[in-house]
């Protein structure tokens, strides 16, 4: 086992897959010689060659479309979109092409493309470097949507994504690249080396897609969350002193409904937490599933916590970010209601 931060774990996943499978290629802006603006592909071009790991022009539409073409021609492209906020020029290629290729050709053509993209706020990135657009993608049938919350999962899930035959949009919460941030920016940064999930095998291993993880077992309520908010939720549970179960959804689509609903049916209370804006957010899907499956077990209305429904404001990052206090308040509320 090695100690890795999330960037190193992602790098290791790509390194392992480049070595194991000659069909894997990495492409994106600044990913080649430079190794990526977040260093996720550092050293990979030097090690595996410039035909396997290469820079692209600044064209997200071009990157995703070219990845689709490569995928159709037998490769397994891993495309990096430098920030999730930059993915929209490639949106048509994702929605109209990548997601539907298998369906519209009755399985004759497929493109097993993995799109990696850093998301989320907390780095003073303002509205164009802080977004969490996962719900825009979970609404599209035919693509898998993943967001890891720690280095171990990041590596295992990325390998699963690359090995799979379906296209995956793989969101990386950049605020937790270097450590498990719990939502309090006033505290000193904590590195992954202090966290059990910072222990990552150096070789090949997988974490299955569409399988949620119980991060913290609990008895009286269930928090459904993913990404950075897993750690914020852990802090909120401590803050509220409530024995809540925390479920890291990990793969938003297709969702592991069993793990989610088994927990909520048992605890009878549910809080849904994400960093993305609330209105039409992924939390709405979770709430809908929970009420379909757990309605007769619910003791209180389900609470949702998310980013306010505004663009991400540069100056008010921490007023905007749904920190532990807001999650704890929702947890308290769900416990009080009966």
């Amino acid at each position: 086992m090695a100690r890795m931060n999330m960037v190193q774990a992602l790098n290791s996943a790509m390194d392992v897959m480049l070595a194991r499978d000659p069909r894997v290629v990495i492409l994106g802006e600044d990913v080649g010689y430079f190794g990526g603006v977040f260093r996720a592909t550092e050293g990979l071009q030097r090690k595996h060659g410039e035909h396997r790991v290469f820079d692209t022009p600044i064209s997200e539409g071009g990157i995703i479309a070219a990845a689709i073409g490569m995928g159709v021609n037998g490769l397994k492209p891993v495309a990096e979109i430098q920030f999730a906020d930059y993915i929209y020029p490639g949106f048509d290629q994702v929605v109209s092409e990548l997601a539907r290729l298998r369906y519209r050709t009755a399985g004759e053509f497929t493109a097993p493309v993995t799109i990696r993209t850093p998301c989320g706020g907390g780095i003073r990135g303002g509205q164009t470097h802080s977004q969490s657009p996962e719900a825009i993608f979970t609404h599209v049938s035919g693509i898998k949507v993943v967001m890891p919350s720690n280095p171990y999962d990041a590596k295992g899930l990325l390998i699963s994504a690359i090995e799979g035959e379906d296209p995956v949009v793989f969101f990386e919460p950049k605020r937790i690249y270097n450590g498990p941030f719990d939502g309090d920016p006033h505290k000193p940064a904590v590195p992954w080396s202090t966290h059990p999930q910072g222990e990552v095998p150096e070789g090949h291993f997988t974490v299955p897609l569409s399988k949620a993880a119980i991060v913290r077992p609990g008895t009286v309520a269930t928090i459904l969350t993913y990404g950075t908010m897993v750690h914020v939720s852990e802090a909120a549970v401590r803050l509220a002193g409530i024995d809540a179960e925390i479920i890291d959804v990990r793969t938003m689509a297709p969702l592991d409904i069993d793990t989610v609903c088994t927990s909520v049916c048992r605890t009878g209370r549910c809080v849904v937490v994400h960093e993305a804006t609330l209105f039409g957010g992924y939390g709405a899907e979770l709430v809908a599933r929970v009420q379909e499956h757990c309605f007769w077990n619910l003791e209180a209305p389900i609470q949702r916590v998310g980013g306010w429904d505004t663009p991400y404001p540069h100056a008010f990052e921490w007023e905007y970010f749904p920190g532990p206090a807001r999650v704890a308040a929702a947890l308290t509320k769900v416990m009080e209601a009966s």
Binding site: I58, R175, Y177
Partner: protein
């Protein structure tokens, strides 16, 4: 052996530790480029889009048909604007390094691209810049305090704290909002120009993108719409050789100049020495005249060099020779205009030093004033509840509800609004 296809991955002539090499750069002699009538057909600008329009030679003398014959006072104003832009950049970079603003982007070495073009346009012309044309703000007389307050996200910030530093806008100055997403402004400028044509107005639009972001589809949208509707717009493409870590070859500059894309779309293309104040002024004036006379759009490639890092988040020593900027064959736009003015007998080292000092004082005073309106780490602060404004013209019910929710959290002290040191980020 049977010939087979092979993936060509462009790589720059020099990497860290190697000697800078700009031999790939096609240069024309100063004064050599032909200056056609503004009514020229796009197809007849093939040469112009390959050559390099230059006016100022190494001997500091202005030569050739593109010499705009500016009076010395105008040249001195240009020098002042470029110098102020540079000093402002240097100061803001230092402020970022001190942790007092979150981010900054310098335009060092590229000042002429914005300043000379800005001066050749009229105040009513609408500008759609990228994030590296702060010189346009300077030309149009924007108070530096306003720019600094934006970078500080303070109580006088024109963006009310909503944008990252340098994402300025200026309605009354006719400068559009800068986007963090690349190239989006390019086709928007075309649309603005189309509206001017629809309304029968005299104003034109101008936009700037980098050679890197010309790979975005927005470039194609802009070129197509501009050509189809013969929109009164100047499309500037700033080829500063580097897009973060990728050199201009990765953007498609290895076999054709960027200006040559113009004739391909039916738009005249001009390739100009972007570090030559006189040449940039002259081609802009030419393109503006074309647009104003209803002849149509122009694509101008400004050949320059990004002497600074991409941004304060970037470290160019990882991907290009450290001293590469020193080998740049087209020099420094400020030094060149200064040399020209001195050669004309209209400037001196003493006057230059005096001007530099005067502008330093201006920058310092501006910073002092800007700081008094608040910093990210100290008051006075903007009211966080304002974040819910301007999402829509009228605030919908769900946002009113969220604002009240936040108000309660702030009043109860549940949300900690004490300043977060910038160094604390992961």
């Amino acid at each position: 052996m049977t010939p087979r296809s092979r993936l060509h991955v462009p790589s720059p002539p020099a990497r860290p530790g190697q000697e800078p090499d700009f031999s790939y750069l096609a240069l024309s002699a100063p004064g050599a480029a032909h200056r056609p009538e503004v009514t020229v057909a796009a197809a007849d600008t093939e040469n112009l889009s390959k050559e390099l329009v230059r006016v100022l030679g190494d001997d500091h003398v202005a030569v050739g048909p593109w010499n705009p014959h500016l009076e010395p006072p105008e040249l001195q104003v240009g020098l002042r604007h470029m110098l102020l832009t540079r000093l402002f950049d240097d100061r803001m970079q230092r402020i970022q390094r001190q942790g007092r603003i979150s981010f900054y982007i310098k335009s060092t070495g590229e000042e002429a691209v914005a300043v000379a073009a800005g001066m050749a346009l009229q105040p009513g012309d609408m500008l759609f810049p990228s994030y590296r044309q702060q010189g346009l703000q300077v030309v149009r007389g924007r108070n530096l305090v306003d720019l600094m307050c934006q970078c500080l996200s303070n109580t006088h910030d024109m963006c009310k704290g909503r944008q990252m530093p340098i994402m300025y806008h200026w309605g009354s100055g006719n400068i559009f909002s800068i986007s963090g997403n690349l190239a989006t402004q390019y086709p928007q400028a075309v649309g603005w120009a189309m509206a001017a044509a629809i309304k029968g107005e005299d104003h034109i639009a101008a936009s700037w993108i980098g050679e890197g972001s010309s790979a975005e589809a927005d470039f194609h949208h802009a070129m197509t719409f501009a050509a189809v509707y013969q929109a009164p717009v100047i499309l500037n493409l700033v080829n500063n050789q580097w897009a973060i870590s990728t050199f201009q070859g990765v953007a498609g500059g290895e076999r054709r100049t960027f200006a040559q894309r113009g004739p391909g779309y039916g738009i005249p293309g001009i390739r100009v020495d972007g570090n030559d104040f006189l040449a940039v002024y002259a081609v802009t004036e030419w393109a503006a005249q074309r647009a104003r006379q209803g002849v149509g759009p122009t694509l101008i490639e400004h050949v320059t060099y990004r002497a600074a890092a991409h941004s304060t988040s970037d470290d160019p020593s990882r991907y290009r020779p450290k001293e590469e900027w020193k080998a740049w064959p087209l020099g420094d736009p400020i030094a060149r205009l200064k040399g020209h003015l001195i050669a004309l007998g209209e400037w001196s080292e003493e006057r230059h030093a005096r001007l530099e000092k005067e502008l330093e004082v201006q920058v310092n005073a501006s910073w002092k004033e800007a700081e008094s309106y608040g910093t990210l780490s100290g008051g006075p602060a903007l009211d966080p509840l304002t974040m819910f404004e301007d999402v829509f013209k009228d605030m919908p019910q769900h946002l009113v509800q969220q604002r009240e929710e936040m108000r309660a959290l702030l009043e109860a002290g549940t949300i900690d609004v004490s300043p977060v040191p910038l160094a604390q980020k992961a």
